[in-house]
Amino acid sequence: MQFDLTSLVPYFGDLAAGARLTALACALALAGSLVLGVLVALMRTAASPLARRAAGVYVDVFRNVPFIVQLFFLFYGLPEVGIELSAFATGVLALSLAGGAFTSDTIRAGILAIEPGVLEAAQVSGLSRFALYRRIVLPIALRSAVRPLGSVFVNLILTSSILSAITLNELTGSAKIVAADTFQPFEVYALLLLLYAVLTWLVSLSAGALHRRLNREQI
């Protein structure tokens, strides 16, 4: 039984490149998820039954179908309808769509947790619906959603490893190559496991800190 990490040192550059790709993909996907999540959350709390239904279906589908199936659907399917995207773009798109479903859940919970009286006060002061959402609903909902959104982001980072299945050389994809080159799969994947764990732990800490900072006036 052997465990030797030193022979991996020359490959740290490749792993770092993979990590950068993961970080970029996840950052973009987070932005995409937030935009989509806010939109869908607003639809789910809208007055129109049609909007609620459509949004409900979207969330239902993306939560009950495995991500890899969603990914393959886009990766193999989009070229068939003439949309040629790089593996990176397809990956970010898939992550955003899936992430959007989960973020919409947390944002919706944040919206529903707003005290009705606060909304009433805003309504009777004559605020337009747009101003109501922009100045009251979303700021309050997002403040309470920071921690759960942190979990969604963590999930996004973990799910991004699946992008290696469509030949993207993000962190996991790079690690596979390194493992093949060094014939030391155990060391490589053990290290990888630790890297992801540390990364997600850092994200959770940041989410907690951000939550405390945004809510300091309300404690």
């Binding site: 005290e115 006060a121 009777v124 004559g126 100045r135 700021p139 309050i140 006036e217």
Partner: protein, 243 residues
Amino acid sequence: MIHIEGATKRFGANTILDGIDLRVAPGEVVSILGPSGSGKSTLIRCINGLERLDGGFISVDGHRVDDPKGLQLARRCSGTVFQLFNLYPHMTALQNVTLAPIEVLKTPRARAEQEGRELLASVGLAERADTYPAQLSGGQRQRVGICRALAMKPRYLLLDEVTSALDPEMTGEVLAILARLAAGGTTMLFVTHEIEFARQISQRIVFLDGGKLVADLSTARFFAADGGLAQPRIAQFLSKMTK
């Protein structure tokens, strides 16, 4: 004028408002009294459009509240102060006060803030302008609530049991402000349990019982032995409340 005619409101099998007729002219100070569940708060909530009537109509300065455009205009000329304050938790006292003037009246920020600070100073909260609601006492929050309503320079001020959630000391400080407003000519329609206060500052008392308007008298008449007190329901209510 606030014009209420035949106002009827049902919640399921219960009739909360049963054909209420009421007019409030500018400059009047009117109190609405009555037992719990008599529909007092519901009436206020129908005037500012938070509830919809099932029958009859309400108009504020000629704007019907059952019409979307009319409601918008009605809301511009009225302000509401709530029992539970309902301040925006993520904004400072000043921001609470200036939000509507900036967003609805399109007042420039600098002027809105200056007027906001003056309002807060007039209720004794000058140094608290940049504090958040969570750090204010109940009485202070309600004072901010009053400023927030006044910032829109409303013709009519609707007050829904605004001291019911406050302890006696804070109640006093809020009532002092309301008395000042009433003396200054602000039109006020308020629902309250503070009988003595109502007696002191209102010109008119309206009594609701079981959704019906039982009496609409001048204050003097209402508390007269041969006026309001002659009605058994009112006498019973008053004796219980002023123990």
